[in-house]
């Protein structure tokens, strides 16, 4: 009984950390531009296809292909910023958000045209054999993914809070005009955010898809990660870890105990229910910044 509970909870927490990792893409871009990127799931798909192309398509060994995939993902992020966002500096955030919706449709179309809709095998980066401790079964891809998510969250928190570049990026998001007047390159900040968001999405794709299959449907994880980002608060990178664990554990326990009773997929709905609830009672999320406006 206890073993079963721990199994649901631990696996839920690890899946939650994967969602947190994907949600980091949302937060990094939001922290630097105040833009909520609706195309985050599509960036995961692009990252996945880059990895697939380099490993199974080109036949490169994974230890060479993965760093190269990060480089290519960074280039994709940079190109997206140059093409769609560099001209919008100083424009309303609403316009930028609308562009991300257009980007979602565009990337999906490009992926379908270039790679097609067929299901492709994704390389096995992490061992398939799970770690079994008593009744608890831990998939290695999720375990390593969870560890990686924590490390990346700590590194990004340090970067945004302690480094000059990180603080400049945060300042850019506050107000483009003020940042420009202080000599901060808003364009470079936004470009850096898209590069980071794109690379993080590729890491997420590797953990999510390792040993499984890849189609454009993988973009769904972007929307599943959304409640985690909103629960944490869109500015808090460290908060994502806790939010991810909360959401994942709730989902895991709901799948284990409620789904069999209800006969439906309560586990997949509950995070969205929590998201709506959080938006009602605390719109800034658990760790989001509270803005004080002086009139």
């Amino acid at each position: 009984m206890i073993g079963e509970f721990l199994d649901y909870a631990i696996n839920g927490a690890l899946i939650g950390l994967l969602y947190a990792l994907v949600a980091m893409g949302f937060v990094v871009i939001y922290r630097a531009s105040k833009v909520f990127n609706f195309a985050q799931g599509e960036l995961v798909v692009v990252g996945g296809f880059i990895v697939w192309w380099l490993t199974l398509g080109m036949g490169l060994p994974w230890y060479f292909a993965i760093p190269l995939a990060f480089l290519l993902a960074a280039i994709v992020g940079y190109v997206i910023e140059r093409l769609f966002f560099s001209k919008l500096v100083g424009e309303s955030v609403f316009s930028m958000v609308m562009v991300t919706i257009g980007l979602l449709i565009l990337i999906r179309g490009i992926v379908l045209v270039v790679f097609g809709a067929q299901v492709r095998p994704f390389p096995t980066i992490f061992p398939l054999k799970p770690i079994i401790i008593g009744d608890v079964l831990i998939p290695q891809s999720l375990l390593y993914g969870g560890i990686l998510a924590v490390i990346i969250a700590l590194a990004l928190s340090w970067f945004f809070n302690q480094t000059r570049t990180g603080l400049k990026m945060t300042a850019s998001a506050e107000d483009h005009q003020v940042a420009l007047s202080m000599g901060i390159s808003v364009r470079m900040s936004i470009a850096a955010a898209w590069v980071m968001g794109s690379v993080i999405s590729t890491i997420g794709a590797i953990i999510f898809l390792s040993g499984k299959s890849l189609t454009f449907l993988a973009s769904e994880i972007g929307f599943i990660a959304l409640p985690v980002a909103l629960l944490a608060g869109l500015e808090s990178i460290g908060g994502l870890i806790l939010a991810g664990i909360i959401m994942g554990v709730v989902q895991g326990l709901a799948e284990g105990y409620l789904d069999p009773i209800v006969g439906g997929s309560v586990g997949s709905i509950l995070p969205f229910f929590i998201m709506v609830f959080i938006l009602f009672v605390r719109p800034t999320g658990l760790f989001g910044w509270k803005t004080i406006e002086r009139v």
Binding site: L18, A117, R120, P121, F208, S213, E220
Partner: protein
């Protein structure tokens, strides 16, 4: 002078003869019947559509060249890209109806059913599908007609066969998703069947996303509850996730059963090697695309050799050819009954409701079809075929397994 006159007369007579002969040939092949064919060149099935439509086209070409020629009828397909989208299909249809008023539609899938189910009875145009049916569309007086029973019927037929092979009752794990009403319908139908069956017991239901992250833990729960076989009729990604979970748990003795659209070759490719599907099954009410399906394979080979069909022998060519044979046979019987000039949607439907299309007439691509007003698919005499991977190779495991009767769910 007289000689010149004779030559002129001869030339004129010959020209008139040629003209008359050409005229009579033209008159004989003059009747052209145009059907609307729904396709998806810009949606989720864009990559496979050329294969499906290519098979449809060549089968129509064969009919025009053989049966059609004798009857003086030529069939033409006018393709409409519905993007496999309900809204797109619904918005295209009024234009198609007023432009063509076709006596039948080559249906594509679930979105057509959702978009047109309500209005086809008023428009008096039947849609002839190539896929299995759905429980939610199991209604009387159908105008959308499926040559296959529901996915749940097909899975239940497989389970009955599997229980017989095992020599006792079977516990089944059902894997699906709430992402689509069709996916839920598949599970509800098998549950309805298992409730009344002494041979089948549902060990558990696993509902997940269309692209699951990891199912090891969830599959272990089903295995702990005694699942001996997994039914996955949703998509290839789910088959891959369940297979990976079973591999991680070291339970290669538990087979999975897939349908046609997520069958063994496709799932095997997505896993990296079809050998990983050793001992697994696919089950559906169409010929298995293996040379062992002799009649169907011979027909396919004829289309390939004589009409230049450039599609491999796989589930898509089977589906495209099978749907076309079903449709042309319905038209052929209607033409024989009412004449080529009187072929309407109502008459095509009447033919299907009153006449049987035998499996032999369709070269074994489908089992014999006898529709009735009770539902969109024949409720009697249907059967499925089962494919498997044996010694690393795709093979037929069983043919002609009868589809059981299931009460509406």
């Amino acid at each position: 002078m007289k000689e010149k006159m004779n030559i002129r007369r001869l030339v004129i007579s010959a020209m008139a003869g040629v003209a008359l002969a050409a005229g009579s040939t033209a008159a004989k092949a003059e009747k052209t019947i145009t059907l609307a064919a729904f396709a998806d060149y810009t949606g989720p099935y864009a990559d496979i559509m050329p294969l499906l439509q290519g098979s449809r086209d060549k089968a129509v070409e064969w009919w025009n060249d053989t049966v059609g020629k004798e009857m003086g009828v030529s069939l033409k397909l006018k393709i409409y890209d519905t993007r496999y989208d309900t809204a797109q299909t619904a918005s295209l249809w009024p234009g198609i109806k007023s432009e063509l008023n076709p006596p039948a539609i080559f249906g594509l899938g679930g979105p057509d059913v959702a978009a047109l189910q309500q209005r086809l009875p008023d428009d008096k145009v039947p849609s002839l599908m190539g896929t299995a049916a759905y429980g939610f569309a199991w209604k009387e007086n159908p105008w959308i007609l499926n040559p296959r029973a529901t996915y749940a019927h097909e899975a239940s037929a497989f389970l009955q066969w599997y229980a017989k092979q095992k020599g006792g009752a079977v516990k089944v794990g059902l894997v699906g998703s709430e992402a689509s009403p069709a996916y839920v319908d598949m599970i509800k139908g098998v549950e309805a069947f298992a409730e009344k069956s002494s041979d089948i017991e549902v060990a558990g239901v696993l509902l997940t996303t269309v692209q699951p992250a990891d199912l090891t833990s969830q599959v272990r729960r089903l295995v702990k509850k005694g699942a001996e076989v997994m039914i996955i009729q949703t998509n290839t990604s789910m088959v891959v996730a369940v297979k990976r979970a079973l591999q991680a748990l070291g339970r290669s003795d538990i087979p999975v059963m897939t349908s046609s659209h997520n069958g063994l070759p496709a799932s095997g490719r997505a896993l990296g090697d079809v050998k990983q599907m050793e001992g697994d099954f696919e089950a559906y009410g169409m010929a298995i695309p293996s040379p062992e399906s002799v009649d169907a394979y011979n027909f396919y080979t004829m289309l390939k050799d004589k009409y230049g069909l450039n599609v491999p022998w796989n589930v898509l060519s089977v589906q495209g050819i099978a749907q076309t044979l079903f449709t042309v046979k319905a038209l052929e019987k209607t033409i024989k009954r009412v004449g080529a000039d009187n072929v309407t949607g109502e008459e095509v439907r009447k033919t299907l409701m009153t006449e049987k299309i035998t499996s032999e007439e369709m070269y074994g691509f489908y089992s014999s079809l006898s529709f009735n007003e009770g539902g969109p698919f024949p409720t009697e005499g249907m059967s499925i075929n089962i494919g498997t991977i044996k010694d690393g190779k795709y093979a037929v495991a069983a043919t002609g397994i009868p589809v059981p009767a299931i009460e509406k769910w």
